[in-house]
């Protein structure tokens, strides 16, 4: 259920996101999802890629500070109230969202939410109990 997400540190300056992305492109690593968290002078690029191990090795070899973290991908109907239903499912579980990002599926009427929870195992249990579809890693990478 848990998916490897790669995070890397970048300075908030022109070209600093492009460089690692170019690097992955050259080595034919596909970026399935990407989110850029920014502050005034630095940012964190978070991404889910086709081959996390290869990408991490590549980035580390090129001097990037990289961390692999476990996130969950949750499928929700892409209509009003879709996200609200997922969050409601977590009510009372004590599970906290550290951050999240969402992207729509191009085909079909589903959207994918990527969550980093403080306690992913508890989150999986809670979401599945409420009938919410937590995607397996390979489903997202298809």
């Amino acid at each position: 259920m848990k998916i490897q997400q790669l995070s890397l540190f970048v300075e908030n300056k022109p070209g600093h996101v492009a460089a690692p992305v170019e690097l992955l492109a050259r080595e034919r690593v596909d970026i399935r999802a990407l989110y850029l968290a920014d502050t005034q002078n630095f940012g964190i690029v978070r991404m889910i890629v086709s081959d996390a191990q290869k990408a991490a090795a590549l980035l580390v070899a090129n001097g990037y500070a990289v961390k692999a973290t476990e996130v969950l991908a949750v499928e929700v109907p892409d209509h009003p109230g879709g996200l609200a239903a997922v969050l409601r499912a977590l009510d009372g579980s004590g599970v906290n969202i550290e951050y999240m990002y969402a992207f729509p599926c191009m085909l079909g009427s589903q959207a994918i939410l990527i969550f980093r929870f403080d306690n992913p195992d508890a989150a999986i249990q809670q979401l599945q109990a409420k009938g919410i579809n937590v995607l397996a890693g390979d489903e997202l990478l298809k």
Binding site: S7, L8, F9, V10, E11, H16, A37, T39, N41, F42, I44, R46, V60, A61, G63, Y64, A65, V66, K67, T69, E98, Y99, R116
Partner: protein
């Protein structure tokens, strides 16, 4: 320290007791005077600038009758080397010069230094004395990760380590992954490099999943840039090696002017060859032993390029009292700063070493930093850029901002002024020959 094979008692090819380090003091002072008189005569006969300066003072070599008379002699400063570029201070004809080295020269022309064969032999002998003082000997495998080339670090350490009888691995600088691989595969027991570069190696090894503590490496001989006691503690704790401070400068000979012994109570200066004085950097007046001031060195045996009263700009003091190791050679305190690296920010004196100390107070932070000075609306601004190493990196913005504010608080506390902290990508701070460039001054006056 970890329990690693201690070869010290098993091989005595280069036993320290056979070295001049233990010369009785009266004998040492006699030797110094004879050599001082000889080097003054040599410079007077061969170096126009020196003779002209003695003439101005109405001095001749015979006026040097005691060691105290050294204070009559004029200083030599770095700009003298630039002004006489390239060969103006040579005291030997080029046919006797077997080697030239040159500084990296950040501004304009480099400074050039020259060696006769005897100078090279002396240089080799002092590096041997340094390494022996660090407890190294035949049987050790020493990786020399200083840059080889015009910089004196690489070749200086190399010749000394080889003459010691150790196995030398001349990796030179750069390519951390290969350095670490060879260190591990060859069973390297000691390394010579800058402390900054060693920190980088520790960090990189952790990323590669290699535990420095599990390697046979037991000693590091670090120099070519000032570093602090907190940095030593950090290095020793992360790698469980014994870290030694070695001192030297190309103008005098290169690495090997002085080095710590295993007592780590200051650096023994090989004063049978390099005569140390401490002066007031403002007035030039000699200061007594124990007082802090600028270190001034005179080469007592150099042939190709003698240096008389060379102002090093390094701030330290001469420590009195005999070291428990038995060496008679006087020691200098660790050099944490140079008289020319003091920054004045909005009227407050700041030394780069204070930034290092502040960073090392924070758990998980490495002193990989650079200071950038700018002036905005007439006011000095100081930004401290800190590299985010993989070890420090956290995927949560809040955690990184927390780190940033902890760094901010530590710097405010240590420096007493408000500075701006910026987190920057790893390996972006300029380094030359493994030495980090600590200060970039963009203030235009």
């Amino acid at each position: 320290m970890k329990t690693k094979p201690n070869l010290e008692t098993s091989a005595n090819d280069c036993h320290p007791a056979s070295m001049p380090d233990y010369t009785p003091l009266d004998e040492l002072r006699n030797l110094q005077l004879q050599r001082l008189q000889a080097v003054v005569l040599r410079s007077w006969e061969n170096v126009d600038l020196f003779r002209a300066r003695l003439d101005e003072r109405g001095l001749v070599p015979d006026d040097i009758r005691s060691l105290n008379d050294i204070a009559k002699l004029p200083f030599t400063v770095k700009s003298d080397l630039r002004d006489t570029y390239p060969f103006g201070l040579f005291a030997s004809p080029m046919k006797d010069v077997v080697r030239l080295h040159a500084s990296s020269g950040t501004t304009g022309k480099p400074i050039v230094v020259a060696y006769t064969q005897q100078d090279i032999d002396v240089w080799t002998s002092v590096v041997v004395r340094c390494l022996a003082g660090c407890g190294l000997h035949r049987g050790d495998i020493i990786q020399v990760a200083y840059g080889y080339g015009l910089f004196t670090g690489g070749l200086g350490a190399h010749y000394g380590a080889e003459a010691l009888g150790a196995t030398v691995v001349p990796t030179s600088g750069g390519n951390a992954d290969r350095q670490i691989m060879l260190m591990k595969d060859f069973g390297v027991t000691a390394i010579c490099c800058t402390p900054t570069y060693f920190l980088h190696l520790i960090d990189r090894a952790a990323e590669l999943g290699i535990d420095f503590k599990a390697l046979p490496l037991r000693a590091g001989v670090f120099g070519a840039e000032p570093w602090t006691e907190s940095m030593r503690r950090h290095i020793e704790q992360k790698s469980s090696i014994e870290a030694f401070d070695i001192y030297g400068l190309s103008e005098i000979i290169g690495p090997g002017v002085g080095c710590e012994c295993r007592r780590h109570q200051g650096l023994h200066i090989f004063e049978d060859l390099f005569y140390p004085e401490i002066i007031d950097p403002e007035t030039g007046a000699p200061l007594p032993d124990g007082c802090e001031g600028e270190l001034v060195l005179t080469t007592l045996s150099k042939q190709a390029m003698p240096m008389i009263r060379y102002r090093t700009r390094d701030i330290t003091s001469l420590l009195t009292g005999r070291c428990h190791c038995g060496r008679t050679m006087r020691r200098i305190g660790r050099i944490g700063r140079r008289s020319d690296d003091m920054l004045i920010i909005r009227g407050v004196n700041v030394f780069p070493s204070q930034v290092e100390t502040a960073l090392l107070q924070i758990e998980g932070t490495l002193p990989n930093y650079q200071i950038v000075l700018t002036r905005e609306q007439g006011l000095d601004q100081m930004e401290v850029q800190v590299e985010v190493t993989p070890h420090m990196f956290n995927d949560k913005i809040g955690a990184l901002q927390g780190l940033q504010s902890r760094i901010q608080a530590a710097l405010d506390h240590v420096l007493g002024i408000r500075v701006h902290v910026a987190l920057v990508e790893a390996n972006t701070i300029a380094r030359s020959e493994g030495k980090a460039k600590r200060v970039i001054d963009r203030r235009t006056s």
